[in-house]
Symmetry: C2
Subunit: 316 residues, 2 copies
Amino acid sequence: MHQEDTLFTALTQTHARIKPYIHHTPVLTSHLLNELAGATLYFKCENFQRMGAFKMRGAVNAIMQLSAEQQRQGVVTHSSGNFAQALALAAQSLGVTAYIVMPSNAPRVKKEAVLAYGGQVIECEPTLSAREQTAQQLVAERGATFIHPSNDLHVILGQGTAALELLTEQPDLTYLFTPVGGGGLVAGTILAAQACGRNCRIVAGEPATMDDAYRSLQAGRIESNAGGDTIADGLKTQLGDINFPLIQRGIDAIILVSEDEIIAAMRLIWERLKIVVEASSAVALAALLKNKASYAGQPVGVILSGGNVDLGKLPF
Amino acid sequence: MHQEDTLFTALTQTHARIKPYIHHTPVLTSHLLNELAGATLYFKCENFQRMGAFKMRGAVNAIMQLSAEQQRQGVVTHSSGNFAQALALAAQSLGVTAYIVMPSNAPRVKKEAVLAYGGQVIECEPTLSAREQTAQQLVAERGATFIHPSNDLHVILGQGTAALELLTEQPDLTYLFTPVGGGGLVAGTILAAQACGRNCRIVAGEPATMDDAYRSLQAGRIESNAGGDTIADGLKTQLGDINFPLIQRGIDAIILVSEDEIIAAMRLIWERLKIVVEASSAVALAALLKNKASYAGQPVGVILSGGNVDLGKLPF
């Protein structure tokens, strides 16, 4: 069996498995954005996914791959972002307990969202070591299984189903853009493109102030962020040892974009597609526009990763 | 032939006529909004309509009902809102010249939008009499046909096709909500409900500060606005002698909502449906939520009228 066949089987099985628990999200187009980009764009709207982001796909898949016994003892992660909500809602949908470790200074609205999805919030000191220690404690004491937000093959395969759906509807895409943060979405998207075997190239956008993936690719090893900041707050994470090799082997390019370029792309999406996406989503379109001469006249996909925005803190 | 049959024929013919020039807009749902309302809601997303609002439907229909000779001489309207853009884009799509009379103090972005759709902007003094006089001059001098944004039966029938699409997909709706401003959308929606003949009742939301329709209904004659203001700027217009009798005969209720209620409903739509709608659209949901006990447990439609928002002036 060829590698693509194995991959294709793994992804289609993943998709069939998680399908009852996720939305098949729509693909939107815009004449005006096509004109602006000089290409034919297909926007995969994961902002319409359950809990508002693609993370739901990976969370459902990871929980479903556990044994009944493991599921009975619950799952645990540490996150204050979309994966916290995703794991909570996925667990609730599957009748599993989810322990979400969150720093004590996380915004109240983030904690409430996890609680609303039935998750158990476990507070800890706002340091990485406290988060990891608290999570390990839950693993040791309650037998819960730790699920990483991005550096987990089942999570990666789940995230890849967004591209699988898009490439099934639009098999002729020559390029497909995603943002890159922890690397789960872009790694899954690479696997989906390889599985579909049509030579669609994957490009990731990354905030210039949070360029660990770009530097990791250049250095040939995982680099850390120096401590900058970005409006694309979903991307303040870093690659792991499971997704990095997949990205290294399969990515066409990582394009760095400025904060102004992210905000301008976000505004275009809101104004032209009339949809609410978070800044992290706009990073993919910003990267495409920055380098648009390379994609002129071609059919290009863009994964809009999520739509969980604090309307009280918009950059417009 | 019964009246409903005639109406149904008129509406389905209108729909068939304008179909190549409009989008069949999607219907969205949300578990969370259903829970909040205590009803099953179906949102007809005219914010995804061409040029961003339902007004495109009526504009296309009105132009298509003109003779070839009339079309050759162009169309004229006075508007600085969505109908200006709708008539410009409809005319461009049909190869007709559109003269759009706009007050000299209209926002630059509104003029540019009309120009981008190929309309000819004719500026005038910022008074109602100057607008009407300038429009009449274009009628007299160039033989252009004046098309009213809402008080025109062809426009009304065009606007009714949004409800026709929704009622075709969801024939069991017991209530259908729209905002009311000039009255074209609500009058068309009333005709669509009558044509479909399933006893779906029509309710309109109106800003309490711009309550001319509410008072007109009580008085039994067209009343004017006293000069207040509202964030729902698409609704600062008043009923006409063609749509008012239709509304009088066919409406179930007009519900007044406060500015705070409009903003809260707008926020709910943005946060929960992840779509961009203008404040005028939110008036319909605000009215439903205000009176939600009356619709408990029922399937209820809401027409989201448009999505043309100035992102630099959001109320959040």
